[in-house]
């Protein structure tokens, strides 16, 4: 195996290590991963882009005719336009609500004694290990017409017939907020490092009350974490599929559910591909907004 002798001698300090172009051993180590990446990522994404410009036919038929029609539909067709607006609006409100729910949890974890911190941290992120299908099913049990909430309200006589809590936007909203809280909490905790108790003590000694201290000291210091968490939750919300599909009951139309319906039920692949590209463009915009916001902190 002459290849092995080609390994850069790691005895030399890294700074002067020869930066060879492509020693055989490196090629051999990287090739399997590159093949997987090419087959299941690079080629599919390129193909997706190409197909999004093909004329749309139902039944999984692909033509050779290139067109901008699939994209123009998003500006001319009111259903498609509404889809984009609806997705953006739900993702935005879900992100804000997730922030409001996750912020106290993250602040609590930052302040609680280390004994409790580890246990509570595990409890906060453990829902990530539970399948989203299972968690969404849990919400169907809680919010359904004969679910826990409606059942309790009915037996207490507070309502005379079940309140519609699922198969509508409200159900999707509640489910998404709960699914996304662990992600938001993780991003917030990562950004809470700058939060120093002595700063709050200084503000208090200068006469600031609890609300002022939060508004002027705590919240501004945690803004980088807030920005990261919001970006993460927004992109996860706009691309979420399982929760809107199951809790929306086919009555809530979002970009992600539409991609699936167009691709699997109507078999209009070019349209589904174009919808996917729209989602990726929204991703790009969200990233651009995030990097502008983050630059202002520095």
């Amino acid at each position: 195996m002459s290849a092995i002798t080609h390994m850069p001698t790691s005895i030399a300090p890294p700074a002067t290590a020869p930066r060879r172009r492509f020693p055989l051993i490196i090629v051999l180590l990287l090739v399997p991963m590159a093949v997987v990446n090419l087959a299941a990522f690079v080629l599919p994404v390129l193909r997706l882009g190409q197909i999004s410009f093909l004329e749309s036919r139902s039944g999984g038929v692909l033509t050779d005719v290139y067109t901008f029609g699939n994209y123009l539909d998003f500006f001319t067709d009111s259903f498609n336009f509404g889809l984009v607006i609806n997705s953006l609006w739900i993702s935005f409100t879900v992100t804000v609500a997730t922030l409001i729910c996750a912020y106290p949890i993250a602040l609590f974890l930052h302040r609680v004694s280390p004994v409790w911190r580890n246990t509570l941290f595990v409890i906060t992120v453990s829902p990530l290990l539970v399948s989203s299908v299972v968690r969404t099913y849990g919400w169907m049990v809680l919010l359904g017409d004969q679910g826990l909430i409606n059942g309790s309200l009915l037996s207490m006589g507070l309502i005379s017939e079940p309140v519609r809590l699922i198969n509508n936007t409200l159900g999707v909203f509640i489910g998404l907020v709960e699914i996304l809280i662990p992600y938001m909490a993780l991003a917030l905790i990562a950004g809470f490092g700058k939060l120093d108790q002595s700063l709050e003590e200084a503000a208090a000694s200068l006469g600031a009350n609890a609300f002022t201290r939060f508004r002027r000291i705590v919240f501004p210091l945690t803004l980088p974490g807030v920005a990261l968490g919001c970006l993460l939750c927004f992109v996860l919300a706009i691309s979420s599929f399982i929760t809107p599909k199951l809790l929306g009951g086919g009555r809530v139309f979002l970009l992600a559910t539409e991609i699936f319906d167009q691709a699997i039920i109507q078999l209009e692949w070019p349209r589904a591909a174009a919808t996917s590209v729209i989602v990726l463009i929204i991703f790009g915009f969200a990233l651009a907004v995030y990097s502008r916001v983050v630059r202002r902190f520095d």
Binding site: M1, S10, I11, R19, L30, A40, V141, Q146, F260
Partner: protein, 263 residues
């Protein structure tokens, strides 16, 4: 009392945790319902749905398929991801940063988009509804994590240990086998566990690739929940959550064990 936790704050946090855990906790009592439809609280109790679950051929087949696929995907993820991570983490070469961002880029793509993209290529390659297709698709989900985790675990151990072994006359292969590999063990165990769980849980991409005759467990559960709401899904959920807990506790044990051996 600066930075201390006031009682109202404590109460708010307790309610938020209840909200966060409610959908997971509620399936436990429901799984012991004997009702034929979903009502909460159940009107009669029993293990009827646990029995029904084990008699549901579609579910059992899907379970074995998922178990098999997750095992193969875990083995292949390590076989493909560890060499790439070793090359990136321990060698200098042109385009190293590019390779790293390319290999971890699939993490950034929403699964619904990746699922459709893979469908469009697999339909031509005749890989739809095949085990091979499912394995390749799952690999693109798991390998970015393997590469990331193994590179991180490599960066925490100093190359000086390997250099010492080389200076004492060990061949590069011996150094890798006797020094690098054991030191990477916690990272490898962690990425194996994560690969298994990710593959076993994967649902969105699988929805695009599975067919009527080939269904993984999460897809089978998804289809079941979509078509009928009876307490059987609760029984399945309880079994799945328990299994996940057991796996994580086992990993924690082994990881703790390997750490004590390492030191």
């Amino acid at each position: 009392m600066i930075g201390k936790i006031s009682v109202p704050f404590r109460i708010v946090v307790i309610f938020l945790y209840l909200f966060l855990l409610a959908p997971i906790l509620v399936v436990l009592p429901l799984s012991f319902s004997n009702d034929s439809y979903l009502t909460f609280p159940p009107e009669s109790w029993g293990v009827r749905w646990y029995v029904a679950m084990f008699q549901h051929a579609g579910l059992i087949n899907a379970f074995w398929l998922s178990l098999g696929i997750a095992s193969v995907v875990t083995a292949l993820s390590l076989a493909v991801g560890i060499p790439a991570a070793y090359a990136i983490g321990r060698h200098e070469f042109r385009g190293k940063e590019f390779a790293l961002s390319l290999f971890t880029a699939p993490l950034l793509l929403p699964s619904i988009v990746l699922g459709l993209a893979i469908l469009l290529v697999f339909v031509q390659a005749r890989l739809l509804g095949t085990v091979t297709g499912l394995i390749i698709a799952h690999l693109i989900v798991t390998t970015p994590y393997v590469v990331r985790i193994v590179i991180t675990s490599l960066s925490t151990l100093p190359p000086s240990v390997e250099e010492a072994a080389t200076m004492l006359g060990a061949s590069p292969l011996t150094v890798f086998r006797r020094i690098t590999l054991p030191l990477m063990a916690p990272g490898i165990v962690a990425s194996a566990a994560l690969s298994f769980l990710l593959s076993f849980d994967e649902v969105v991409i699988s929805l695009f690739i599975t067919g009527p005759r080939l269904t993984t467990l999460p897809v089978e559960i998804f289809n079941y929940v979509e078509s009928q709401t009876d307490p059987m899904t609760a029984a399945i959920s309880v079994v799945l959550v328990t299994a996940t807990l057991v796996i994580i506790m086992l990993i924690e044990r082994t990881l703790g064990l390997s750490r004590t051996i390492g030191k």
